[in-house]
Amino acid sequence: MSNELNERLRAALRPVDPGEAFTQRVLARIASEPPRASLPAHRAARALELRWMSGALLAIVAAGLLAAHQWQAQHTQQGQEARRQVMEALRVTSEKLDLAYRVVKHTEHSGA
């Protein structure tokens, strides 16, 4: 009984040549599959793209900050200049009001 089973198992599990057709099919299928190396390349491209975008975003933010700083500096300069001009205008105005008074006083003294 055990010999018979042993024989049947050997017969069932004997090496069989798959044939030339099978080999061709396997080779054809390997050739048709996309190369496995293309996936990491895609990911690398995506990473590069993200890196460029981050760089561009940083550059835009930096340019914005620089522009804001320049605007602030210019605004401050204009404000200080306007303030200086107001003071100068008030100085000239007061000076001329004072001149008017001095002339009046001088005239009064001359007439007296």
């Binding site: 306007a82 303030r83 107001v86 205008a89 000239v92 105005t93 009001l97 001088h106």
Partner: protein, 193 residues
């Protein structure tokens, strides 16, 4: 737009700019004078003050004054009611180097309704002349003009808006503003700065 149309537009804009003097937008505001172009005499002057401050510049200047400081607060209060400040002042090396025609063109504007001469002082020996005019609209002061001429100096001041001479007087002795000896005025407290 074709080239000829563009050239026509440019010519129209250029001619408008040539005809319309600067400050025309403000000319409609009561109390505003149309100041002549003093470029010619500015070249001869040894010292020039040319100040044109419109509402936006005045408010910008006010923004740079510290309200917590009494002096700044006083100036801020004065300029708060103003719409414009225009000063032209020229100092020369020689006597009477400024054209009387330009001065007369300003005086002519001051003879128009609304303007009233407050003070006219003319000192013959010293050739010092000062005319102070005020523009009133519906009983309210809306402008001040000062024309001051001395042999070597010529000044026009035009302040547009609500002018309070008393407040201006309070600034004496500060910011380089001379100490005025107006009648009935007490000397200001010494500045501890």
């Amino acid at each position: 737009m074709n080239t000829s149309a563009r050239m026509l537009s440019a010519a129209l804009v250029t001619s408008w700019l040539a005809v319309v003097p600067p400050g025309i937008a403000a000319a409609g505001t009561p109390g505003t004078l149309q100041l002549p172009n003093f470029e010619a005499i500015a070249g001869k002057a040894i010292q020039t003050v040319d100040i044109s401050l419109d509402t936006s510049l005045l408010s910008m200047a006010a923004g740079f004054m510290d309200s917590s400081k009494p002096d700044d607060a006083a100036v801020k209060e004065i300029i708060g009611g103003l719409k414009g400040v225009y000063v032209r002042s020229y100092t020369f090396n020689g006597d009477f180097q400024y054209p009387e025609a330009d001065v007369d063109s300003v005086r002519k504007q001051l003879s128009q309704p609304g303007w009233q001469r407050l003070v006219a002082v003319h000192n013959s020996p010293g050739h010092s002349n000062v005319d102070i005019y005020i523009c009133t609209v519906q009983g309210r002061a809306s402008g001040l003009a000062i024309i001051a001429s001395q042999p070597r100096e010529f000044t026009i001041v035009n302040i547009v808006g609500s002018v309070d001479l008393q407040k201006l007087h309070q600034l004496q002795g500060k910011f380089g503003i001379p100490q005025m000896q107006l009648p009935d005025s007490k000397p200001p407290a010494p500045d501890n700065k």
